[in-house]
Structure formats: C-alpha cells, structure tokens
Symmetry: C2
DNA sequence: CTGAAAGCGCTTACAG
DNA sequence: CTGAAAGCGCTTACAG
C-alpha cells in the first residue's frame, strides 16, 4: 500500500541468491565470459580442460542462459508463433485445431523451440494477432492457418521479414505451405459412397471462399464424373448450427440418398442430430471429412477422411525452421496424403 | 541453390530497411533515446510538445520496441506460460483443456500478455516442461494444471522465484489456485438423479489420486447420504478405453440403475458406446461431469455438470498477474460455482 | 523538462 | 586456446 518495497535500501533477497549469470559462471571458473559463452554454444576452440571445468560448473549449478539476453544478442528467440482462426469455423476448441496446436507444440519442442499462441482479437482480424508480436520480435517465425490470411495481410508480413508458413494452401497467397490432399480425400470418400450403392450424393461444405473447401468440392465432382453419375446437390454453411441444419435439409429435399459432410466432424454431429429430428436417419449414406472418436458411437457407421495431423505439424515446423535458417526449401507446397477410415 | 544470399558482401536488405529502433526514432525526433523511452512507457515528465512529436513519429513509422531487449532491461517478458497434462487423461486435444487454453490465451491477450504453451515431454514429467523455460526466463509466470504437479516439483518452482497458479486445487501443494466446486457439482448431479427416481447410483471416476476426483466422489456420497440412500458402486479408470469399459461393466454388474460419469465428456462417450454394446442403453440413468456439444445428440438426454471455463481462465490470469506484480492476492484459492445443464 | 551514462545478460569478431 | 571490448535494443537512476 505504501510502496514498502521501493522504500527499502537494497534489493530484498537478490543479494542472497545473486542471480545466476554467465558472468558468475565465468568468475567461478576463473575464465572470461566469452569463453563460457563459447562452451555454451559448443564452439570448438576451447581447451578440453577449460571446457570440462566450465561444463561441470554449469551442470552442477544448473545454469541456463537468459533467453531474452540471448535473443537480443543473436536476433533469435527460439520461439515459434501460431495463429489460428476464430469462429465461425474451426477454433482451438475444435477437434482439428486443438490437435494441430498440440502436435505443433510437440514437434517444436523436439527442435528446441517453444510455441506462442496468437489469437486474433476478432474474427478475420489476423493482423491484430501478428502485428505487435511480429514487430516486437517475440517469435522467429509464424505458422498460420491459411483460411485466416487474406491477400492484404501478406505484405506487412513479408516486409517485416518474418518467415511464415501456412497450414492449408491459399491460392491468393503463393507461399510456403503444408496441406493435405483435400481433393483426393474427397474423391476417395465419394467413390466409396458410390461403391456402396448410392447414386445421388450430396455434399455439405464449409464457406466456399476457403480454398480447401473448393478442393473438396472438386474431388467430389471428379469422383461423380468418373462414375458417370450426374452432379449431386450441394449446400454450404459458415459454421453455425442453423446453416448446417438448413444445408442438410436442402440436400435431402433435393433427393440426396447420401450426404458427404465435407465440413468437419463437428458439422457431422450437427447433421446427424438434424437428420434424426427429420426422421431421415436411416438409409441415407454418410461420409465425413475429418474424423472424431465420437463417430465410433454412431450406427450405421460413418466412414471418414482423415488427415495426417502429426505429419502436417511436423512438416510445418520443419519448413518454418528451414525458412528461419535462411535456406529456401522446395517444393514450396507440401501436400500430404489423406486416408479413409472405414468403420466396418 | 548456390548460397546466393550468403555470398554477397553486405547484408542483403538490412541496409535498406535499417531496422527500426529506439535510437532511430530518437534521431528523427531530435531527442535522446531516454526521452523516447519515457514517452513509450508513458512516464509523465516529458514536455507536451516533445511527447507529441515522438508519438507521431512512433505512430507513423509503426514502431514497436523489441520485446527481448525490453525484457532484458526490465526483467519482464510479457508472456505467460501454461503447462497442461499429457495422456492419459485430459490433454489439449480434449474438450476441457483445449477450452481452457483458448480462454486463457484470450484473457492474457486482453491484458497484453502472450501465452506460451509448454508440453511435458512425457506423462507426469512436468519438470521437463518448466525447467528450462523457467530458468531461461521466457515467461513471467506459469499456469499449471494441478494434476500434473507433484509435491517434489514445487520446490524448484518456488526457489526459482517464478510466480505460478494452479488450475484445480492440489492439497499437496498449498498454493494459489483457481478451481471449480467439484464437490458441489457432483452433489447436484447426484441429487438430480435421485430426484429422477434412481436409487442405486454408481459413479465412474478418473484416477483417485487426483484431488478433483476425490472431491467429486465426496459430493456424490454427500448427496446419497442426504437422501438416506446407501452408497452406490464406484469404479475408477485412468483414461484408457479398456479401463472405462471395464468400469462401466462393473458398475452395471453391481446393479447400478444410474451411472454418474464423473470423468469428463470423453469418458461419457466411451461409456455410452459400451452400454450400447452391452444392450444396456435404455433405462439406466446418466449424468456427466463436463459437458460436450456432442451429448446433444444422445437420447435419452444426458444432464451435465458444467464448469465456468471462461471465468476459470479469467481468474487464473488475473491471479497470476497479481502475483507477478508482487501483490499477495487473497483468498489463495478461488472456487467457482458449477452449474447443471439439464437437457429436457 | 531533457540527456549522458551505465546497466540488463548475453554473443561475436578480433587480437593476442 | 583465451580474453577484452564492443554491441544487441532497451530502461533507469541521476544530473543538470
């Protein structure tokens, strides 16, 4: 209340602990700071004796250099940032992004980097997320959910010289990206449904301005065409429950005998609920893009297109790390194969 | 391909951009760095004219001070860390922790802090997560899922002088914590089931060495006792599918006419699946601790105890920030009320 | 109200 | 093989 701390003469306890610093290590080892630094960064030109002595000291005192100081000296922070979308659509609460974030954190950790989570202040407002963090140099690079990135967001990023990679390809933003074979996955699922005897296969998609959504639609069309079937009905929604329900209804009304929910597991759940309400839950074929353990509960079983999320994360991290190192990896876009989970 | 970049004499473009720094601002404004610094940190003692000039410059050039440099000068990084458990049990992929992380990130952002995700390398191995990050001073404070913290983990934390708060109370670790009323929630759910006519209410819990698990069991017992009912059967599991199934079976075998799944929504899903397989899905009363939108799909409906996750996150962040500021907040443990979601 | 100087904890040429 | 010095970009007493 009265500024008790500020009043005192010396610092309270610092004297006791006397923060462990490279200087202290140097003193104890009887060498110069620079020598300690060399050992810490395993530079070669240090005498084996000296090196050993320093290493032991570091070990026993459990010394770790201050990240900020190192960052200001080297220009590297050792942390990566990730920007994920906000509602509507997939958010961190959702199956997809929470997995991605978890995996990215893991792979980053394996390569000695930490992960900073950046959430846009509001929907579509990516800039707010990276603006300061980027100028502030808190991260060495960024992993960005491609659907949040618009054309006009890219320039500031590029100009700031911050390396970044997209998760999901974005045709408006020709840049390093890792993505999965959306088209192929959709094609495979559609083919499966055809194989199972369905003839009028509708598709429920997310917002069609998202690139991956378009790709899935393409895949669906391709499979239908390949089998000589006419194009089925199509419905899009932007993530709200109402829109999903409306979409499902329209598909059924259009005479679909199967529905391919290409908009993720959450949309599938809502779809199922709606179909039950409509009393249409039997006989209609189903398939979903993105799996969820919950679907194990559903009868009849729902096959799913599954994305290799761990690989995705791994690739994103190593791509980004390469960019940070200054190498120019190729190819620019890594496309990972999807697989089908059949659930017999 | 040929190291084109590295070959060149000077730095490629730095010369053009000439990194924006406080020194540059000072030069342009014709003042000293210290003056700029004062304005940036809104210190009062700067002439209005000067302040205005500097502010305009900062604004138009979009200058933001380097976070690392500031950190090394002030000792504050402006980032918070969060440590969440690994499997078995709730992980970031799970409904609970992904929500918590998301909310914490939001509330931290509102208070101008970023969130660093720290994942233990392996199960139970918290130390690996905070050890370096903590010694490295990458964060000003830590938010820790209490179930991951063991008694012997605390000392190093305390000694390092890193402020931290627990999410979920931990009797072995008397420390600042925010938690929800697990006991009350469990009591309420159990009472509801009693009210609905069930007389032999079993409980399926997580690992009983977790404090919150015990509390939930207490609440369940209290409700039963209050109604003069005998204690029902109890089964525990550690998060694996097999254990959950075994637990459910044992409860049913013990004659439970209702099952209170106190181990989270994911366990509820598995429970439902198992009960269907056993052909026991009808007639058995159900309740769950922690909700999930998926449960909207289930008939008959499953009532849920819901925790105020946003409040939880908010409280955790402000508690931590207080600790970082150096104030000693009280009470030490904040307990938030839970509510019942009935699903009529 | 303003600025010169020292310092935060590290790294990196450079000289010896 | 080792160390003294300068520098990274900021802030903080302190003097004027």
């Amino acid at each position: 209340m009265e500024g008790v701390r500020g009043e005192e003469a010396g610092p309270p306890e610092v004297s006791t602990i006397s923060k462990l610093t490279i200087r202290r290590i140097a003193e104890l080892a009887g060498v110069a700071k620079s020598t300690v630094s060399k050992v810490l960064n395993n530079q070669p030109d240090v005498g084996p004796e000296t090196r050993k002595r320093i290493l032991e000291l570091v070990e026993s005192l459990d010394y770790v250099p201050d990240a900020s100081a190192r960052a200001v000296a080297t220009g590297r922070t050792g942390t990566l940032g990730i920007i994920i979308p906000r509602k509507p659509g997939p958010v961190i609460q959702g199956q997809y992004w929470s997995s991605v974030v978890g995996e990215v954190a893991m792979f980053a950790a394996r390569r000695n980097h930490d992960l900073l989570i950046l959430t846009p202040r509001s929907e579509g407002e990516v800039v707010s997320a990276y603006r300061t963090v980027l100028r502030t140099r808190k991260v060495d690079g960024l992993i960005i959910g491609s659907e949040v990135l618009h054309e006009h967001d890219v320039d500031p990023l590029l100009q700031a010289g911050i390396p970044f990679v997209l998760i999901g390809e974005n045709p408006w933003v020709p840049h390093y990206a890792v993505t999965t074979d959306n088209r192929g996955g959709a094609r495979a699922m559609t083919s499966l449904l055809i194989e199972r005897g369905y003839r009028r296969i509708g598709i429920l998609t997310g917002a069609t301005d998202f690139p991956y959504v378009r790709e899935r639609i393409e895949g669906w069309k391709e499979a239908l065409a390949a089998s000589g079937l006419p194009e089925g009905p199509i419905a899009s929604e932007r993530g709200t429950e109402e829109e999903i329900c409306a979409g499902v209804e329209s598909l059924l009304k259009a005479g679909a005998d199967a529905v391919f929910v290409a908009a993720g597991a959450e949309a599938m759940i809502t779809t199922l609920a709606r179909m039950r309400e409509l009393g249409k839950s039997d006989g209609v074929g189903l398939g979903v893009f993105d799996d969820d353990p919950v679907l194990d509960l559903i009868t009849p079983s729902v096959p799913a297109v599954v994305q290799p999320l761990a690989n995705l994360a791994d690739s994103a991290v190593s791509l980004l790390l390469q960019l940070i190192e200054g190498t120019t990896p190729e190819p620019m876009v890594v496309t990972l194969p999807t697989s089908l989970k059949l659930r017999s």
